[in-house]
């Protein structure tokens, strides 16, 4: 899941080398933390959070395949 978010985020931002993703794995739910530089924050959130929402939708489709849940946190 971590790789998935990293791949998507790197494709969206201007500074892919500064994308950092970490994953806190729980029994049922994992939390995926995405960090980008300040300049790129808007790129991963999008207008009215549309990009962030799209990433969460993709994430939940991918994790439902594994019968799990994943939460995406975008960290400033």
């Amino acid at each position: 899941m971590k790789e998935l978010i990293k791949y998507i985020a790197q494709a969206l931002v201007d500074h892919p080398e500064q994308v950092d993703v970490s994953e806190v794995i729980g029994e049922q739910t994992s939390v995926i933390e995405l960090r980008v530089t300040k300049d790129d924050l808007g790129k991963v959130i999008g207008k009215q959070g549309k990009t962030a929402k799209a990433m969460r939708t993709i994430l939940s489709a991918a994790s439902s395949k594994l019968n799990k849940r994943a939460v995406l946190e975008i960290i400033e």
Partner: protein, 240 residues
Amino acid sequence: MKDFMEIEAKTIDEAIEKACREYALPREKLNIEIISEGSGGFLGILSKRAKIRASVLSIDMDISGPFHEMPRSVSKDIPVETQDVNDIDIDMAETSRKMIEGILSRMGFPFPVSIKESDEYILLNIKGDGSGILIGKGGQTLDALQYIVNKALNKNGKERKRIILDTENYREKREKSLVTLARKLGEKAKRIKKPVTVNPMNAHDRRIIHLALQNDKELVTKSKGEGAFRKIIIVPNKKG
């Protein structure tokens, strides 16, 4: 155990869950075929139940099979082709295909993607497994993927083509059901001589409704609301 069973539920997700329970198997051990996609119905009419056909995947059809057949390079860390994007000669269709395949393989769906290109758009067709998991409720997963790919490829602001994502013929089916819905609601508006409101929809779906009714002289279509809540109102012409 029967070869397959047909299950009806309010939504596809619910039906799949039911199937898993019936067979007592996880989702990936089942072969799910969607017979009809449910719709919540509009104003209580037209509500359709979702129907699926579920069967157990045979053991030799191991799910891990296709995944391992994928070349290792695809699912491993490929640097995102940012340097290519600035290249004048880049093939946008090929880049978008690589991108979507990269996302899919990381989602655990290493499905092949084919390209159809026209002057206005690039159509990427994902050859799915028939489970509908890539489509999602009301097409939301497919739309999310499409949105991300468009965002990623159009980020440097140059005039670029629109990318349309499709799988299992979903776009065409959706368009047909929207046109049918538009006609039904149009008839209703004429019959009751009052405006009929359609559920909130995205821009693409609204466009289909507008186009479906534009030649009907007895009806006018308008949009109302903001952002994700924007919806169409079908108004019967005053003379009618």
